[in-house]
Symmetry: C2
Subunit: 239 residues, 2 copies
DNA sequence: GATAAATTCAGGGTTTTCCCTGAATTTGGG
DNA sequence: CCCAAATTCAGGGAAAACCCTGAATTTATC
């Protein structure tokens, strides 16, 4: 039995290592990595049955590392360790894991029992998803509330503070098209239009950002990545 | 020597307990509490020299707990443990700690050495602030960039998605006054006006929210508290 | 391939946000 | 008490965001 533990924080690595050592029966080999890049390299080298991946890591996020590992070694059991129940990450993970692949999704405030359970489940071919995220997953698959890629794109743009016109330019669309996307987005988020609400009048744009943050559809660190990408493309390949 | 450790996560409590036991010389008594309310009670009862407080806790936040403890026992050394370098919290803490009071501010990704250092510093009457927050503190005291209470209030409102008109109603102001506040806010955040920017056109409202999040002036959980308060006041004391 | 759904785009109208100037008022120190 | 700074408020104007309807296209799905 071999396990790869990937986390940039020593404290968490120690905790996991201790936990797995005491809870998993049989001989156990543990490898460690400190970031996504190391994780991919180590996985290639040692081909562990199980990989524990922190989401927030320098160089390569846990999700991206999982993607690369699974593309080479689809048999690997992946367990994601996350601090939040962010819908963004669940969405991304969903795309990355092969249809018949196995994965676990554990929040960092999980009990030791839960982590051990998740590890065992994934090893024996089952998925294990933290209770409380089940809800998020459901939403991820629900047509009515699940955002399309287009809507998500628009969401990120307004969250960064772009105007309709800027968004249109950047995405090669008309302003009207952008407004269409936004309208659909507001509807899915359940934001009332002007005068549609009994007691509170909202600025839909800002309200959409707020609610999306609340639901974990977007979060600050994701946005910051998007920003650097969007602004870079402008400076580099300027018109 | 007595220390009170307050954190709702067992893992972190254990970590801190082990750390302090091994690093602090002399006989050591450690008390524990799981939330802000318990913390205040325990502090009253045991009068520890040092209190370690997590910021995010059920019932009473670390800051508020610190406020109550310091109002009764101003001699207590308070060390805040936070996951982020959020400016909101530093601002709040600044107000709560008496002018001659002692406090520490440690990020949770701090090394064991740093935590031990912070504990010793506070015990011997010095403040200890995590490197990287120094910058935030400076900004907190800088006239030009530091937000006034009025601007902060406006910021929270737009971040929640309220319109100018709604804000005016809620704060008993004119729409024009609200716009004044917002204008000042945008200026302090350094957001370019229409056409003032060479390459990107921003929706100032959303941009302000984004940048404030980035700088830690506001954050999601704070906003959610504000929301429940603002919406409650409407339903309860209507008109 | 046909149906349904999502997406783009248009025209034209209303409201909101943002801009500029400027004055009365409040606030905090010296 | 007075100055300087912050704050509130006003009027009027330009731009952006939102609303409605409706049609042509693309995209999935059966």
């Amino acid at each position: 039995m071999s396990v790869l533990i990937v986390d940039d924080e020593e404290r968490d690595r120690l905790w996991l290592k201790g936990l797995l050592t005491s809870r998993l029966e049989g001989p156990l080999t543990i490898y460690e990595a400190h970031d996504g890049q190391e994780a991919v390299d180590a996985a290639m080298k040692y081909k562990p049955q199980l990989v524990f991946l922190d989401i927030k890591m320098p160089k390569l996020s846990g999700i991206k590392a999982a993607e690369q590992i699974l593309s080479k070694l689809p048999e690997t059991g992946v367990v994601i360790l996350s601090n939040f129940s962010d819908e963004v990450y669940v969405r991304q993970l969903w795309k990355v894991v092969p249809p018949n692949g196995v994965f676990g999704y554990v929040l960092k405030n999980a009990s030791d029992d839960q982590v051990a359970e998740a590890a065992k489940a994934v090893l024996s071919g089952d998925c294990w998803i933290h209770p409380g995220i089940a809800r998020v997953i459901q939403r991820t698959q629900n047509r009515a509330t699940n955002l399309t890629a287009a809507e998500y794109e628009a969401l990120v743009c307004i969250a960064l503070g772009l105007t309709d016109h800027e968004i249109a330019t950047r995405l090669y669309l008309t302003e009207k098209a952008v407004q269409s996307r936004l309208k659909a987005l507001y509807a899915k988020l359940g934001i009332p239009g002007r005068g549609e609400s009994p007691d509170v009048d909202f600025n839909q744009r800002c309200r959409a950002v707020y609610l999306s943050n609340r639901r974990g559809l977007i979060n600050q660190s994701e946005l910051e990545e998007w920003e650097s990408r969007l602004l870079a493309s402008r400076t580099t390949a300027g018109s």
